[in-house]
């Protein structure tokens, strides 16, 4: 490793600005990063691609100083450096813009920025700098507003401004889409390839990431038959909490045999829509929600289940299933209304275990032992269980929120096939998903949820990804990504590529 710091100008310096060589990171017996080499040159935008669990987030944390590698070395202009903590990384000019914002809700904008600035910085000076940066890049912020009162877009601005205020030489952007010129692909903790993502298709990228052709889903053409089984009629709901989204005049209908997909970027009302459908939040009017014609707006979740509806929420750990409980106990949680699992107020343990065993068998759920705790299952297996638990009841209506989020490709394919098969048997299926490829694969028609408004549903054959994407972004004004300036001298972006057959 050549020593010396930069007397050569960054653009002329042949050495990579930052490098990582032979990076190994182990957590106990689990190897998250396995001898990774990565070089970032000044002025380039470099993407890091890979499925969940490929090791991207670990590598990012190492570069940001949150973790130290078990083996391997990080270099700055060819010289080895030790990043003991994010403070050290920041001093070298490494900045990070977080996907899930690292902001303290009850502090002001200025206070959140001050957390990473140098000591002794006066309030007035900081406010000036924030204002100046806002002018230069069009990222306006009021320094004294508390964060809880800001929208998601404004919060992302704080993240970006906070990063840029430190004059970073390297910006790590978490989850930014399609800005990148070069890509390194991780699988199973190792580098498995490099490419120019602009000249690859999603399919070829996915194949590189997954390492094999993902099993084709046997898509049967959507053949809706019969009348509407699920109906939302002009549903409006005030925001149920401090940081929630209000629903505005939402109407939709799903017929038996049909899969309706609801696309949208996270945070636009998906969770609230799900809660209104499941009954966790009652609707203002009884007729706003109809299941097989019955008005259920004021009924609770179990009453809706008894009418033949089933629900799979987004969060499998903590919402769909209780991680500390066994799988048979988790079956009791949502199936006591549709299966004889409780009698005279007592839980029928053996019946629950038998039902759980049937679900595990039918959906190939793998875990330690016959009745493991839900929290010990991998993401894909737990999701298969949670989806299978509901499908096993042969519900007339199924509402699923993010069916394959964070799930390995094989399990995801199986889940999607199960949804298609359920619809083919005459059920109405509503799929809420951030994954456009998934929706275009399984849904017969697609509607878009944006800021609590739902667009009209369009048959899949009559719409395109671009059209849906525009609606997802609100169709007015550029999507967030365009705002981001490429001021600093280099950037790495981490991108999730949606699974595609």
């Amino acid at each position: 490793m050549a020593g010396g710091t930069g007397s050569a100008k960054p653009a002329d310096d042949p050495r990579p600005l930052f490098g990582a060589y032979g990076i190994v990171k182990r957590f106990g017996s689990f190897t998250a990063n396995d001898h990774i080499d990565l070089e970032i040159h000044a002025g380039e935008i470099h993407a890091l691609l890979g499925e969940n669990g490929a090791g991207k987030s670990t590598l990012m944390k190492i570069l940001y100083g949150l973790l130290e590698p078990t083996e391997g070395v990080v270099t700055h202009r060819g010289a080895a450096v030790r990043l003991r903590n994010p403070e050290a990384a920041r001093r070298l000019g490494i900045g990070m813009v977080f996907q899930h914002f690292s902001l303290c809700e009850n502090l002001t904008v200025a206070e959140n920025v001050a957390l990473v600035m140098e000591r002794g910085l006066r309030r007035a000076v900081l406010a000036e700098r924030i204002a100046a940066l806002g002018e230069t890049y069009g990222l306006k912020l009021e320094p004294d507003r508390p964060v809880w009162s800001l929208s998601a877009g404004e919060r992302q601005r704080i993240e970006i401004v906070r990063c840029l205020l430190q004059n970073p030489k390297l910006v790590i952007l978490d989850e930014v889409r399609r800005l990148c010129a070069r890509a390194t692909i991780l699988r199973g903790g190792r580098v498995v390839g490099a490419c120019d993502p602009r000249s690859e298709t999603a399919a070829s990228l996915a194949a590189l990431m997954v390492g094999a052709q993902v099993q084709e889903v046997a898509a049967r053409p959507a053949a809706p038959r019969g009348g509407e089984r699920l109906r939302l009629e002009r549903l409006s709901l005030p925001a149920p909490g401090l940081h929630a989204t209000a629903l505005d005049d939402i109407s939709l209908g799903v017929r038996g045999g049909e899969i309706l997909g609801i696309a949208g970027i996270a945070g636009n009302g998906q969770a609230e829509l799900f809660a209104a459908l499941s009954g966790e939040i009652p609707a203002p009017e009884v007729e706003a929600v109809r299941i097989d014609g019955t008005a259920v707006g004021q009924l609770g979740v179990n009453a809706r289940r008894r009418l033949g509806a089933a629900f799979v929420p987004e969060e499998r750990n903590g919402h769909a299933a209780a991680p500390g409980l066994s799988l048979s106990e988790n079956v009791v949680l949502t199936r006591r209304a549709t299966a004889p699992l409780a009698r005279f107020g007592l839980v029928r343990r053996r019946a629950a275990q038998a039902l759980a065993a049937r679900i595990i068998d039918a959906f190939d759920v793998r875990g330690a032992g016959p009745d493991p705790a839900a929290g010990t299952l991998s993401g894909g297996n737990l999701q298969k269980f949670v989806v299978g638990r509901e499908i096993q009841a042969e519900p007339g209506i199924l509402v699923v929120d993010q069916p394959t989020w964070g799930v390995d490709a094989a399990a995801a394919a199986r889940i999607r096939q199960a949804l298609i098969d359920l619809a083919a048997r005459g059920s109405a299926v509503l799929v809420i998903s951030q994954d456009l490829d998934e929706l275009f694969e399984i849904a017969g028609s697609i509607a878009v949820l944006h800021a609590g408004h739902l667009s009209a549903a369009m048959p899949r054959a009559q719409t395109t990804r671009e059209a849906v994407g525009l609606l997802m972004g609100g169709s007015s004004g550029p999507p967030i990504g365009r705002d981001v300036p490429v001021g600093p001298t280099a950037a790495i972006a981490r991108t999730e590529i949606a699974h595609a057959p």
Binding site: N85, F311, G318, A320, L325, L333
Partner: protein, 358 residues
């Protein structure tokens, strides 16, 4: 220097049941050191604290009589604590229960003829009073989100002052030479003794029955299942259709009722009249018992016996070895600290890491 907690892959049930034992042994060892600092031989102290109480009939009865209210209250508390509802006011609910049942006894004092109904009425009154008193923090929490820790605790002082006022005032025995106590209860208003000439009364049976019932309810019933879920994963509980508000009220009702029942059992069993104070801190000691017993009725029963032995032993040690009663209390506090620490160690592996390496 950094303390890292690495979660263990599996939590072995053997380790989970051994950890309180290990904590107990450690506490005894530390106690031995403390005792020798006070100039007493650890061996002699151990014999007086733990061995002697188990060797005589009368002290065995005392242990049972002390363990019974602890077990009863702690079993009720387990319902609350499993649901992350921190009822700290069991002492107050105990007092209110004793007061209510005692009032029935005083009101019917001297009645002749059909008196069989009096004792059951006292028990019912005590239980209902405990439930009602526990509803205050429960409703405040369920409807307004007020911290149940603070409200239930403040009500303890209010209950104690109420009892003090009643025992010295309206319920005081007019023929009692101005002593601050009520009339001595009639035979019909006392819990029957279990053995001729001994002190063991039926209250012990009440505690045993409660333990069995609680085991069934917590382990088998849908309600017990719901309290477990709502404490561990409140969102999953809502998704399952369990009402958090109703569970809060039910858990507090069980806890308050158990404490109130324990109160009237103590008054009708051991004390036999109303006095300005009727509890040597059972409501607070029961909190320790609940955690020592790891919130399971059987564990609580064992823990209650252990605590009762140390309390009886402490009283004996005060007389025989001139060791202060505070030593017992400090021991109990230390024991709880060690149990909590040991519990963490069964779920995580602790690594002491030097420098800033993560």
């Amino acid at each position: 220097m950094r303390l890292d907690l690495v979660p263990r892959a599996r939590r072995s049930p053997l380790a989970a049941s051994l950890s309180p034992v290990l904590a107990f042994v450690t506490a005894v060892l530390i106690g031995g050191v403390a005792v020798s600092l006070l100039g007493v031989s650890p061996g002699a102290a151990f014999a007086v604290y733990f061995v002697a109480p188990l060797s005589e009939l009368w002290s065995l009865q005392e242990i049972a009589l002390k363990a019974a209210p602890l077990a009863l209250i702690a079993t009720g508390l387990a319902f609350c604590y499993r649901a992350n509802l921190w009822n700290i006011g069991a002492e107050g609910q105990f007092v209110v229960g004793g007061l209510a049942g005692g009032w029935v006894a005083v009101a019917t004092h001297g009645d002749a003829g059909f008196t069989v109904w009096i004792l059951p009425a006292m028990l019912v009154a005590g239980t209902l009073a405990g439930i009602a008193y526990a509803m205050i923090p429960a409703l405040l929490r369920a409807r307004l989100g007020v911290s149940e820790i603070l409200t239930s605790l403040m009500l303890v002082y209010v209950a104690e002052l109420l009892l003090d006022y009643m025992a010295r005032g309206p319920l005081r025995d007019p023929a009692g030479f101005n002593f601050p106590q009520s009339v001595a209860f009639d035979e019909a208003a006392r819990l029957p003794y279990l053995m001729e000439g001994e002190t063991l009364h039926a209250g012990v049976l009440v505690a045993l029955v409660a333990t069995v019932l609680a085991t069934l309810v917590l382990g088998r019933s849908l309600f017990g299942f719901a309290t477990r879920v709502v404490g561990a994963s409140p969102r999953a509980a809502r998704f399952a259709g369990f009402s958090e508000a109703r569970l809060t009220l039910a858990a507090f009702a069980i806890s308050g009722g158990a404490a109130g029942l324990a109160g009237i059992v103590e008054v009708a069993g051991r004390i036999g009249q109303l006095q300005p104070t009727i509890s040597p801190g059972y409501g607070f000691t029961a909190i320790i018992v609940a955690f020592l017993g790891r919130l399971s009725p059987l564990g609580i029963l064992i823990a209650a016996l252990v605590i009762a032995v140390t309390t009886i032993g402490g009283e004996a040690a005060q007389i025989d070895l001139r060791l202060p009663l505070d030593l017992t209390r400090a021991f109990q506090g230390l024991l709880l600290c060690l149990v909590l620490g040991a519990d963490v160690l069964t779920r995580f592996r602790v690594r002491l890491v030097s420098g800033a390496t993560r």
